[in-house]
Amino acid sequence: MRLRARAAAAVLAAGVALLLAARQAPVFAEVVAPAAPVAPATAKATPAVPESPQVAQGRYLAVVGDCEGCHDRPGGAPYAGGLPLATPFGTIYSVNLTQDRETGLGAWSADDFWNAMHNGVRRDGAKLYPAFPYPYFTHITRAESDALYAYFRTLPAVSYRPPANKLPFPLNLRFMVGFWNALNFKPDNAPTTGPNPGQHIVEGLGHCGACHTPKTFLGGDKNGHALEGGKLDNWLAPALNSDQRRGLGAWSTADVAEYLKTGRNARANASASMADVIRYSTSQMADADLAAVGDYLRGHPTHAAAVGDVRVDPKVMQAGQAIYVDECATCHAADGKAQPGYFPPLPGAAVTQSTNPTNVIRFILSGTQTVATDAKPTPLSMPSFGWKLDDAQVAAVATYVRNSWGNVAPPVSPSDVAKLRRKVGKPIQKPSAKV
């Protein structure tokens, strides 16, 4: 089961659809409802009374765990839950973590909380769906669990009951999770912070693999392929390992830390689902922890096969280059080097060279917006080209950027583009020959 398919991507897609509609009928642009400026959810109120070291630790661990990423819904109180998580198996709504006794965690003990984090079991004994990433959280220590619990005890009670999950039979029967656990889950018998703080964060609270590890058909992590890149919500969560082309092998530790802190660095800009992770979690993490994460990830071994011989039709490259010069070069520059830290360079980038071309196609089709952080507040963006380039054109320019300036990656076919376009946006309107 995919664990972190997020509503944000759906909102993005809806926004793009709106943009497409406005574009195709300019006359409607002025009556489109204004997008209300949304206050960012990052700034936390500082507590009026000094909090205990344990609560302070729990507050920080809640940031590391990106709890708000799933447990805040738009317009709702922080941690009150209700965000729909679209999984391939149905929609699961995040629960209320506030101290309300009826609808939240108000009646839970520290042992109850530990049992959920460590074993994936609810206070009433029912099994939690692994949309709640207990297969990762099982690696946190009891002291960390207790700190989180102590912090959640300070959240004001908000009475709110999220909608019922929408899962088909028999997945709606919670005991079915037992079978899933038998195949995919092993509680950590001796959780420890260990000698490698980066590993502890990545494999534990950070639950990076929830998105970045490829899944089995049941949604469990593929054994032996940790952090080699996963799919979610029609995006590719890229490989987080030492792979030079498709992972973080060419990044420095400081590159990773800067990316996680500010949402951008000289190599890449963060958007889509990663934007929420950065907004709620990593932009607020301690620099030392981010460096530890960077150290661990870029040294993480890769088992992916090397990129073999790639054959690209020269005609496709020529067409792709022409489109690139017309549409892309103003920001990304003719040599692809772009404006590092502003608009991301394409040579050497994982987004261009990942074996699975989903992201490069999707960026061209839908555009994207860099996450705004306190450190880097500008919402630098790439526009949508889905309305003006047809499938063959998108495929050509994607193939071109994947195989220029030293990049090597399998070509993209028009049918790859058509497939993704069907999922994320309207097909291009071809002018009728009769008109």
């Binding site: 204004p34 997008a35 507040p377």
Partner: protein, 589 residues
């Protein structure tokens, strides 16, 4: 009946450049600020895509970024003997609408006024005498000096990442810059844009005649730039869709690309869009602004109380709202009494086309403030003795991009349509350039703004009426500038030139400049001005009026640099003095 809302520390009316500047400064000072904007929310990622910014029909000809005149326009006449009629299509100036205001579709031409521009009356009287400054010329000195404004000019230039070359650093003239400018404390934040062929030809020709050419200071970033607020601007791509368009490349400075990413994150700032302020409310004694009344898109009225009211709309809307709110005494051109609406001024432009046979100029390369200028004939940079006018303007080639529907200059004798016209366009399009002159307009007794007695807007309120014409001073000045431009045009060595003098009364139809000024001017005393030097109303001390509304008369430069500097100057006074003693005048009358 209006619904009464909870009070805020400061309410801003209009959210363009000055609104964003003031909101940023006041929230920094800890105030709870609400801005009310009648237009739409607009932002770069969602509204200004470089994938379709080049849609000339949509943006320029169909006015997508501009004010909808079916909702609200103004009436126009040249003098009091005429009946003013509504302007039903934008022409001479292009009013903005929506978040960012006209600062979204501006060119990014960032100038400082000359020290002598700010002393226009005393300086010219002293140098040229009464004959040059007759009584009907109602000009005044600004109550601020160039030195007062210098730090604030600097602040705005660094906010925008202006690309340029200093000509006067702390009194030392710098090669390659404008030697006539007032002294600046430091160099521009970014180097000049790359200069295209035609402006470089202009520079060579101007220098050969002893003039002093330099690259136009541009709020079009010549390289990637992070401003002091931490906001990132991308490098200009010279796409040619800057003037009259929004920038999708984060390269042209606007509220969106310099301030809003920081401001919108603040919990002490709120922006209401699609809400139009109907009037500023006053206490019964008329000495305190109690807030504003506004109407939303559903027609619901709200009363928004505020400790401080800041009028930060476009100058024409500022003046109209003062008149509609009954604040200040309306100006009467017959008696010369009254203040509100007085000293409305504008600018006067002309051009000279140069046609080459042998030079491909690639005029489609462009940016809003990309070009080479001379200030030898601006302000009082030259001796006016014997010329019988005061003031001046800059002359130069501004290559904003020869957008195809808009750009079809033809040589003398070419018909205005038909086969011959088409052939001439095809022959000359890439081999033609245009020198522009951009002159200031002085204030004259008969040029003013008031409420129209007949025509009303969509909400039933009287339209603003503009009574304006160029005076002899302006025509003489503009003709002089055009002659100087023609001299340079000849020296450029083309096949032929065509000088387009500005003849006759002011005409609202052809585009000239969106540099309207005055109507609630700043000054030394309540007898001759609406605000003091901190843009604070003399009559209503918790009301501040920002923008070119404050200019006692216009200068030969684009106004935005001075508009922003005055806003920062006011913001500093509010933060340092006013907030310690609210509702008190910052200058004793």
């Amino acid at each position: 009946m209006a619904t009464k809302l909870p009070s805020v520390d400061a309410v801003l009316i209009g959210f363009g450049w000055t609104g964003a500047i003031m909101a940023q400064e006041l929230t920094d000072a800890g105030l709870n600020v609400l801005a009310i904007e009648r237009g739409d929310w607009r932002d770069t990622p969602t509204d200004f895509s470089p994938a379709y910014a080049q849609d000339e029909l949509r943006y320029y000809w169909r006015h997508e970024l501009f004010q909808r005149l079916s909702h609200d326009t103004l009436t126009i006449r040249n003098n009091q003997s005429q009946t003013a009629l509504p302007m039903r299509q934008l022409g001479s100036f292009l009013l903005g609408a929506g978040v960012g205001g006209a600062g979204v579709h501006w060119n990014g031409q960032v100038w400082r006024f000359l020290p002598s521009d700010l002393k226009a009356k005393s300086h010219n009287l002293q140098r040229y005498g009464k004959a040059y400054v007759p009584d009907e010329m109602t000009i005044q000195d600004y109550p601020v000096s160039y030195d007062d404004l210098e730090p604030y000019y600097d602040k705005f230039e660094y906010l925008c990442g202006v690309s340029g070359k200093a000509g006067n650093l702390k009194g030392v003239i710098q090669p390659g810059g404008d030697p006539f400018e007032g002294p600046r404390q430091r160099e521009y934040p970014n180097p000049p844009l790359d200069i295209p062929y035609a402006p470089s030809l202009f520079g060579q020709a101007a220098a050969s005649l002893g003039r002093h050419p330099f690259p136009h200071p541009a709020a079009n970033a010549s390289r990637a730039y992070t401003n002091p607020l931490g906001v990132q601007l991308g490098p200009c791509t010279y796409c040619g869709f800057c003037e009259k368009y929004a920038c999708g490349n984060y390269a042209k400075a606007s509220a969106q690309t310099t301030i809003l990413p920081v401001l919108m994150r603040k919990r002490t700032f709120t922006l209401k869009t699609n809400a139009e302020v109907l009037k500023i409310n006053l206490s019964p004694d008329g000495k305190t602004a109690t807030g504003v009344t506004y109407v939303d898109e559903q027609g619901r009225e709200f009363e928004q109380p505020a400790e401080m009211v800041i009028l930060s709309a476009y100058i024409l809307h500022n003046v109209r709202l003062l008149l509609l709110s009954g604040i200040g005494k309306p100006y009467d051109p017959v008696t010369g009494e009254g203040i509100v609406g007085k000293n409305y001024a504008y600018q006067i432009t002309s051009s000279v086309n140069v046609f080459f046979n042998d030079k491909i100029l690639n005029p489609f390369i462009g940016a809003g403030a990309l070009g080479v200028m001379i200030n030898d004939f601006n302000g009082d940079n030259f001796d006016h003795a014997g010329l019988n006018f005061i003031g001046g303007g800059y002359v130069g080639i501004l290559q904003t991009g020869a957008r195809p529907i808009e750009t079809h200059p033809t040589a003398t004798g070419v018909p205005t349509w038909g086969l011959e016209w088409k052939q001439a366009i095809a022959r000359d399009f890439a081999k033609t350039t245009q020198i522009n002159t951009h002159g200031g307009v002085m204030s004259h007794r008969g040029n003013y703004l008031d409420l129209d007695p007949t025509y009303k807007d969509a909400l039933g309120r009287p339209l603003l009426r503009m009574t304006f014409d160029y005076g002899d001073n302006e025509h003489r000045m503009s003709d002089y500038l055009t002659d100087r431009a023609a001299e340079i045009a000849k020296a450029m060595g083309g096949r032929e030139i065509k000088a387009n003098y500005r003849k006759g009364p002011w005409d609202v139809v052809p585009y000239q400049t969106t540099h309207n000024t005055g109507g609630a001017i700043m000054g030394e005393s309540p007898r001759d001005s609406f605000t003091n030097k901190y843009l604070q109303s003399w009559d209503v001390p918790n009301l501040f009026v920002l923008g070119a509304t404050a200019f006692p008369q216009n200068a030969g430069y684009n106004p935005t640099g001075t508009v922003a500097a005055l806003a920062y100057h006011a913001a500093d006074a509010i933060k340092a003095q006013y907030l310690k003693a609210p509702h008190q005048p910052l200058v004793q009358a």
